[in-house]
Every structure is written in structure tokens, then in C-alpha cells.
Amino acid sequence: MNRELPPAYRRLRELTNARIALDTAGSSLGTRELLAFQYDWARARDAVYYELDFDALKARIEELGYACAQVASAAGSREVYLRRPDLGRQLAEGESQRLEAMEGASWDVSIVVTDGLSGLAVAENAVPLIKAFGRLAAGEGLSLAPIVLARQGRVAIGDPIGASLGAKLVVVLIGERPGLSAADSLGAYLTYGPRPGMTDAERNCLSNIRDGGQAPEMAANTMMYLVKGALRLGLTGVSLKDESQLLEQDEPGIEGY
């Protein structure tokens, strides 16, 4: 028999997104609540194993008018990727030489797109973000390197890519670890002067980029704000974060990763 919850108790549900005031059977979860949880969990799981169609993504980005290259990390499969974060931070053999061949003008910004822990987040949010950011970059007169799509990458894969291309700043767009409330969050990590061996303290991060979180168009504005600050100061990381806070209190979504 289910426990009856009076209205004052049910109202608690309006005060937080946490799973509270749930229907029960005895002291256990009621069927509807059980299945609601499983649905959210299933979306998160599917996002982790989502097979991102890199060719289709490349075509969509080229349609925007950007050159685009595909590379792979040293993690050859999803299974290896999950077990070996170190391999997801490195390029597969021979990839950096391919990129070095593309090194041209001294580019201001290199954008790297990688599946990370949610290919779904990339499929849904990367193209609108690049489109909006690209328009802002053109307005600011910033030069963009060819956009690099990296298979099975971690955040730090932007370091060897940015270094090979000789870009001043690399922005890595990566699928974030799916939670039950959102399986399609994209993260954007900025690193000035990319080179292998950098620490997370030298990066800035925008997270929760998705419809329902920070919409891609809005995120592009924040991203451009940080990019300009990084290029002006010649750094990313905690110092840029502090600077941003001085300039604009409570800028949403800026974290010092």
C-alpha cells in the first residue's frame, strides 16, 4: 500500500530538482518513480556510448565555410578510452605530423571538437556554438585555424593539436560526463599557448552548454569574452578567471578548471 503524501509534502518538489517527495510502495520506490529514474539513467548511458558521426559533423562544419580536419586520439576504442584517460590526451601516431603540415598563418584561435564522454552533446550543440562564435570572431578580426575533429579525446588533446597548428589559443569543445539531469551538456575549455604537459589550472571552462542550460548562442558570447581576455593578457587559468570577475561580477558558468 502506498504512503499518502499531503499537499504540503508534495509541494517540496517545486523547490528543487532533487528527487524528493517520491511515491513509495511500502518504503520502496513506486513503479512510476522507478521507471522515471531508469529513463534518465538510460539516456546518460546511451550518451556515453553514442557513436558520433564525424563525417556528418565535418560536412556540417564545412557548410559553415570552415576547413576541417579529422584526427584520432591514442585511445583506439571506447573501452580503452574509458580505462585510459592518458591515451585520450594524446594524438595517435602520425597525427601531429599531419597537423604540422597544415601550420600556416599564426592563427589566433584553434577550435577542437571531441566526443569526450557524450557524443550526443557534440552532435546537438557543437555546430550552433561554432556558427555563433565564428560570426563573433569574424567581427573581431580574429583568425581561426582549420577546425579539428578528434575521435576519443579528453580535454588535454587540445594541447598537442594547438601546438602542432601553432595557434595562440585552443578551445576544446567536448561532451561532458552525462548526469541524470542532462546527458547532452557540452563543455568549452580554453587554453592559451597550448603545448603538451599543461595542467588544468592553466585552463578556463564554460560548462553546461545545451538548450535548457547555457544555450549555444549565449555561450558563444561568454566564450568570445574569455578569448579576448586571454589574448590580451596572454594567459588562461585562475588569473583570467579573477580578472573576469573583476570586470563582470558573477559571469555565469565561468569556472577555473
Binding site: 523547490l15 532533487a18 524528493i20 584517460p85 552525462p178 548526469g179
Partner: protein, 469 residues
Amino acid sequence: MKGYSVDLGSRRYTFPDLATLLARASPLRSGDQLAGVTAGSAEERVAARMALADVPLARFLEEPIIPYDEDEVTRLIMDRHDTEAFRPIAHMTVGEWRDWLLGYDADGEALARLSPGLTPEMVAAVSKLMRNQDLILVASRIRVQTRFRNTIGGEGRLSSRLQPNHPTDDPTGIAASILDGLLNGCGDATVGINPATDNVQSYIALTQLMDDLRQAYAIPMQSCVLAHVTTAIEAMKRNAPVDLIFQSIAGTEAANSAFGIDLALLREAHEAALELGRGSIGQNVMYFETGQGSALSADAHHGIDQQTCEARAYAVAREFDPLLVNTVVGFIGPEYLMDGKQITRAGLEDHFCGKLMGLPMGCDVCYTNHAEADQDDMDGLLTLLSTAGCQFVMGVPGADDIMLGYQSTSFHDVNYIRQLLGKRPAPEFEQWLQAMGVFDAQDRLLSPAHDQKLLEHARQLPAAMETST
């Protein structure tokens, strides 16, 4: 003796030192593979266990796995070792000690007397020779009672930490989750908030919120904000009503340094909290969290396997008479514990090792969405740990932490295991739950009445949008 070796068939396996031997003997897990310290084959793993079984326990006092001069955790372990307590097993090998532990005579009292004579490395070593059922059976004999405003760890008791986290620390959202937890009989171990922002203002506000609620309903509970220990020290200086001091700890000096702590800092915090004297029936004021893999993730593992590093963290914990020690077993991700099987094994090992070392062990039975695990695996570990006498588990709303983005155990899971095994909350809290009409006399959940006192508080909560900043 030059290293440790064993002959198996035509092959001789040799292990150069204790650290290598322990690592090769450890059950397979992804974190040790990532560190490159695991056995190269299943046969080598068993060979290492055979060699380890023959190592005299006294050897662990002669060969520190991190040099005494290089690591303050090693110094703590060696300086605090109680030779008198160690005497009953001083002549044994690791293998003989395993047999002794499983014997009928190794009861709770004998194990409690032994505890100060044990080093983490001895305990980790014997755990590697044990099957899951051995870890459960031996641990089930040990109860470690601790007190602040209630009594944790009594016979037949299972407590819960209520974890009402919110992504923006919104006080109304947090209060709503706390009320739901209390109305489900959870929160006796502690009501503990992981703050989204680690700063002293937010720490004080959350501490005050919980203390006001506790006083309004005379709840025999203790609160905690799980911020860095330096934040807690600052809040105490500003006279915030701080009950428990939280800190994440690890088993090497270098890993603790990555957490921004050392033993002196923990000592300072411990003394400051004792000085407040806020516990009504006891003065266990520390709440520690640990978890296998933390040393490796800080690149501070010295080539030692992650389970042995974890046991060394318990030597840090026992220095400060904690109320609660929580191994957050599956939080760190699949690169350290790949799947439900590895998480289960690690949870049982941690609970066993902590209990042998005399600690009030609980477990955050949990996983992330990129590990090969699900809620069924958590049901398994929760059930196993509770039969092993685990003293507290987490109560997270719907098992889904909306701030930290992982899954743990829920209020409903706590009540499942209490119902299944006849476990009861801490006695003082149980009385309060019955007096408040949350539980009936058999500790079954009552349907909340319209005049349920805690719901009066719920009615006073403003709508979320009005208070969030």
C-alpha cells in the same frame, strides 16, 4: 633476504620489495593497471599471494613501503604502533593471521584489543588473501561506537548521512531535501552538504540553516558542510555553529598535500572543534572521506597499489577519533574501478580494513555514468556491506546527486536494508523519529499526517525563485 619469491612448477616468481609484492597480489582493478603496478598474469597474481602469505607480520615494521624520512604518514604509522597490542600475532605470517582472523576466537573484543597493534600495510596484505565472504565475516564482528549528539555503530544499528546537495547551494532547495530525508527516517549519521562553492560565507550560511532546523525540532543529529578544512577553521573563528569538521584524506603525504592538507592542519582543526564542545553525549568531531585511487590521481602513489594506499589513509583517520569515516567507493570513475565487480570488491575491502583499524566505517555505495555499473550493483554492495556491519550509508534524494552528478543510495535504499536486515537508526534518533510520528513503534514509515510538525516547516519555505541568487 633479497626480495620475496615463490617457486611454482618450473617457474620462480620474484618480487623485489613489499610494495611490489602487495601490488602484484592485489585483486585486478583498472586503477592499478593504469598505474602499471598490477600482476602481469593471473598466475603471477596468485604467486604473489603465495609469497605474501609467507611474509612475517613483523616484516611490515622493518620495511616501510614509503621511507620514514620521506613521508609523514609513514612516520605516523610507525610512531603510533603499539607493540603490546601487536604481541598476540607478532609471531605470525600474513597467511597464519588470516586463519586466526577467521577462527571463532577472533571476536569483537579480541579484534578491538588488536587494533592499535596493526599497521595499514598488514591489514591491506591480509585483505588480499581474503575472499569477499572472509572480508564480510571478519568485519561483521567489529562494532565501533562513536558519539556526538547520538550514538553511531551500536549493535543492530545502521545510520545514514543525509546528503541534500543543490547545484547552486539554494537554501530553500537544500531545506526541502533535508525535510524529505528526515521524513524518510534518514540523517542520523549526519546531515552533510557538499557545497557547490567552497567559501566561508556560504559555509556559515549552510551551517546556520542546519543548526536552526536542528534546534527548532530538537533533532538528535549533527550537521556538516563538506568544505575544505581551512574553510571550517575560518568559520569556527567567526563563531559559526560548526558540529563536524570534514576533510578528504589520502594515504601518502604527497596525496594529502594535493588535497591542501597535512597532519598539523588536521590537528589544528580537530583541536578547534573540540574546544567548541558542541557534542551533547560525545566528542567525536571529525568526518573523513577517502576512496581508492585518490593517491594515483594526484600522482602521489609511490608505485603502491590503490588499496594499500587507501588503508594508509585510515592511519591518518584514526589519529583524530572521527565520528564517521566514509569510503566513497565508486565516485572516482572507471579508470580506477571499472565496473560493478571492482566497485563491490573495493567497498568490502575498505570497510574491512577500516574496521580492523578501529574506525567507524561507512560507505558511499556509488558509481558514475561512465562506469560499467548500475543501481542493481549498488543494491548488491549495499546488502553485502550491511551484512558486514557497515555503520552508515548515504541517503541521497532518489539516489541522484544533482550537484555532484553521480548516483549513490537513496532514502528508500536505506529503508530497504533496514527492513530486510532488521537494522535500526541510532537509538537517540530512532526515539525522535517515533516521537515525531515519522516511524511507528516497529520503525515502519507512517503516512505523514496533515499536522505533521516537519510539514509545518515545509509550509514556511518560500518558493525557490524568491530566495535563489
